[in-house]
């Protein structure tokens, strides 16, 4: 218990500092965890309470992701989402997998690293676009759709992660049945749910908290993918009233997610067997370069311009919450240390590159002659 309090106080202090300088907070929470925990001073260790609280953090992160998913909106913008998303997926998963495999990860571990390597942080991309006042850029829409695509991939990855005891087909049938029942309950209970959400006593928050935990417990009991179910449930509830569910679950998400990040750092052993510090640095650097390749490719294809690629790159370098979620759910020490290191390096470099993307772009790419002509014409 004292350990959790200590970790939280350190995080509070870090949040005060990082928010002041508009830096991403996630890498600093993980660094705090690394310093306090297994890899550093060994002041704080994980116990049953911290495990429960970190689990809550993960559940609310996933529930929030579910609320944000709007199937009709995705359907309407599918060409925008797919065109850039597939380039991003192909380039980064291939490079991530080859890099991880070459650095000595076993086959399955390398696939998991590749998945975490591919998924950029949606939270960091969005806040960097807003903080750096880049929303008007043509590229910002491309980046937003790219994040939507990655979110969908996250859901698919999470559906396959986690302990699975039954036959895959049995799991699929149970999952679909439960989803159908939940959907029906939400459809027919819509008015009652709205009535509860409109109240100003403890009912709305109690409802939100207990349904999220309830779905998680139900999934564990039935042996179906828990993360996937929580996300899907969030999406269903999002069709009723996304705003109020967001308002109700945000405090839980905010607090428990900080605990999730810091305890992820605490339990990670950077000096895990099978991976060396140079290998960790190598995969992190490759992660930055790989997004450069995909950013430029997307920029050239969609905006016919390498400078657009620089902006796309700048805002998608940072890996974050979902990469950590994948690591936490997979649970291998070697994979976790690689992903923790990669998240820290890419998110800090990403924040820096996004802030100075204009200058960095000029250094990396010479203005193309026809672009200059066009500017002169104007």
């Amino acid at each position: 218990m004292q350990g959790i309090v200590l970790a939280l106080l350190v995080c509070l202090l870090l949040a005060l500092i990082t928010k002041r300088y508009a830096l991403p907070t996630i890498p600093f929470y993980i660094i705090a965890g690394l310093v306090l925990g297994t890899s550093g001073l060994k002041l704080v260790g994980g116990d049953e309470i911290s495990a429960f609280l970190t689990h809550l953090g993960l559940l609310f992160l996933l529930f929030f992701l579910g609320l944000e998913i709007k199937p009709d909106r995705i359907w309407k913008n599918q060409s925008a989402i797919l065109s850039s998303g597939l380039i991003d997926l192909n380039i980064n998963v291939v490079i991530g997998f080859l890099a991880a495999y070459a650095l000595g990860f076993p086959l399955v571990d390398a696939l998991i690293v590749a998945a975490a390597f591919f998924i950029s942080s949606t939270a960091m991309a969005v806040s960097s676009l807003i903080e750096n006042r880049k929303l008007l850029m043509r590229e910002s829409e491309t980046i937003v759709w790219l994040m939507v695509f990655e979110d969908i991939v996250v859901i698919l990855i999470l559906a396959f992660l986690g302990p699975q005891m039954d036959h895959p087909l049995a799991i699929l049938v149970t999952t679909l049945t439960v989803l159908a029942v939940l959907y029906a309950v939400i459809r027919f209970g819509k008015d009652q749910i709205i009535w509860v959400l409109k109240r100003d006593d403890e009912l709305p928050v109690l409802l939100t908290f207990s349904v999220v935990l309830g779905i998680s417990a139900l999934s564990v009991y039935l042996g179906i993918p828990e993360s996937f179910m929580v996300i899907a449930f969030g999406t269903f509830l999002g069709t009723i009233d996304p705003v109020s569910f967001e308002v109700q679950s945000r405090p839980f998400k905010d607090v428990f997610l900080v605990i999730f990040f810091v305890f992820f750092g605490i339990t990670v052993n950077l000096f895990a067997e099978g991976i060396s510090i140079p290998a960790l640095i190598a995969i992190s650097v490759i992660a930055v370069v790989s997004k450069y390749a995909s950013g430029i490719a997307i920029g050239k294809m969609i905006h016919r311009n390498s400078h657009s690629g620089i902006e796309i790159w700048a805002n998608t370098i940072g890996r974050g919450e979902f990469s950590i979620a994948i690591a936490a759910l997979y649970g291998s020490a070697m994979v976790s240390s690689a992903i923790a290191f990669m998240v820290i390096v890419t998110s800090i470099i990403g924040a820096f590159v996004a802030k100075y993307s204009g200058k960095i772009g000029k250094i990396l790419i010479r203005p193309e002659p026809h672009v200059q002509e066009k500017a002169a014409e104007k």
Binding site: L135, S140, V148, A375
Partner: protein
């Protein structure tokens, strides 16, 4: 003057307008509640950006719709088509320094402009049908009713003298 609006997941709603002179104005209603406004001059590469809080944005809105500086928040116009097109406008105004400390009687609002003050909002209290000797304070919000011409006169003669 094509206006484009799009909902950006995670960010908010974007409205983009290209003016006749090909300048671009974009307004983003962020999920945080704040509003970012971008203006991009034709031929320029980097936009200027202002971030506004909701009250600031409303104020900017009323300036752009042609209301005077002291006018705050929106007005409502009621049209009764059955009564030979009777149009009544209700407008809210923020009391500034110029008329603070005066009563409705001192200002002779109805006699000069034809406008009637039907309510005053002060802090979290509302005074409906204020008496003639009711004294205005700076920061009060007046709810005025009248024809749009009368309200215009009211803005010109009472609010900005």
């Amino acid at each position: 003057m094509p206006l484009r609006s799009i909902n950006l997941p995670g960010i908010g709603t974007k409205y983009e307008l290209e003016t006749e002179k090909q300048d671009t104005i974009a307004v983003f209603f962020l999920k945080s509640g704040n509003i970012q406004m971008y203006t991009l001059q034709h031929g320029c590469q980097t936009p200027s950006v202002a971030e506004l809080s909701p009250p600031e944005a409303r104020r900017l809105g009323s300036i752009l719709t042609g209301a005077i500086m002291e006018a705050d928040r929106e007005s409502v116009e009621f049209a009764f088509s059955a009564l030979s097109d009777l149009r009544i406008t209700i407008h809210t105004y923020l009391v500034g320094k110029t008329i603070a400390g005066k009563s409705l009687e001192d200002l002779r609002i109805r006699a000069k402009t034809g406008v009637t003050i039907i309510a005053v909002s002060r802090g979290d209290k509302n005074i409906i049908n204020p008496a003639a000797d009711f004294e205005l304070h700076e920061g009060d919000t007046l709810v005025a009713i009248g024809e749009s011409d009368q309200l215009r006169r009211f803005e010109r003669d009472i609010m900005v003298t």
